[in-house]
Amino acid sequence: MTTPSDAHDELAGPADGPEPQQPVAEPDAHPAGGDHEDAAGSATAPELHEEEATAPEPPATPQPSPSGWAALARALRFRASRGQLLAGVLCAVLGFALVVQVRQNNETSLSGLSQADLVRILDETTTRGDALATEVNDLRSERDQLLSGSDKRQAALDALRRSAETQGILTGRLPAEGPGVVVTLTEPNGQIKPVTMLNMLEELRNAGAEAIDLNGNRVTASSAFAGVPGAVTLDGVTLEKPYVWTAIGDPDTISTALQIPGGAMAAVRSNGGEGVLQRRDLVEVTSIRTLPDPQYATPVPAAAG
């Protein structure tokens, strides 16, 4: 592209230059033109041209040709001769092929490389691909490790949390709610003994009560009844009448257990008291009890267990 363009510029510039010299060149141009016609007509001229085109050193021009610029200007003049048309068509083909090849060369850079270069590039690419694949595997295993690790930790945390909730409800550290019963004991004809209250608590526990409240006090494993009939104390606190038990558990099981003949309700009646049992779909045990830290007992180490 550049070479023809430069040539074109080179030709076009001087072509304007010799214009003033045209009168001088014109007389010579006619003989030259005639000479050219003769050369084209003769059969030997093409041979001559072929010889000269291949020869590196041009032989002395047959005639002292006019200025080269004049010949160029003459050739550049617009003439619809057969030779000009043919040269134009061939030059068009050349320009087309030139541009196509340049574009092709720019597009496909790999196809122009030698076999050794291609092998080297292939080798480098393969090595790089292998390294990347190894890295992918490493990262994937690391990710799996982290995921399973966090899964384990999460599962352990969940288990601990559930365990803590269960323990908290059972030991009275946490408020609880759920289906259960409310038992109200009154003393219309007598006084309820502390042992009757203890009997009631044990019946509740046997029936599967999970959280028990008595007059706003949480009843736990360490709770103790004391006092005298009519003035029962729970953990040293005298209970107000009426006694209201609130227990969370299966209402049917608890009510059946409390009302069996000779059971807790029968004991209350034999003390001259009266009991009203209500099954509820939702009862709340909001009272809590804080336990002191164990002074002597420590957990058995997990490894030993």
């Binding site: 084209a40 057969r82 000009q84």
Partner: protein
């Protein structure tokens, strides 16, 4: 003048159409282009010598292209395609240089 216009038209057509070279022709096109350039410079020099002949120009143009492609094809079949391509380019380059030198002498008398 028509030659220059033809060259420009060819370049513009190549830029606008943006054709893709068929795979079978890809090894031969660059050599063919160099051969055609050689023929073009030969024709320019012949014109300055005053012995330009369109028939010779056509013949040399086409034969240059065909022979160059043929040599590359033969080299490919023999397994020395790259070396023969280099050889063709060197020879054509020398011819282009000598033709350019001749044109220069015509134009600049030096």
């Amino acid at each position: 003048m028509i030659a220059v216009i033809g060259l420009v038209v060819g370049v513009v057509a190549g830029l606008l159409l943006q054709p893709t070279v068929p795979l079978e022709l890809q090894p031969y096109l660059p050599i063919a282009v160099v051969a055609a350039l050689d023929a073009l410079f030969g024709g320019l020099r012949a014109m300055l010598d005053g012995i330009f002949d369109d028939r010779v120009f056509l013949t040399s143009f086409l034969s240059n292209v065909v022979v160059a492609a043929l040599i590359v094809f033969l080299g490919d079949q023999l397994g020395v395609g790259t070396q023969l391509s280099t050889a063709v380019v060197v020879v054509l380059g020398i011819r282009i240089f000598s033709n350019a030198a001749s044109i220069r002498r015509h134009l600049f008398k030096a």
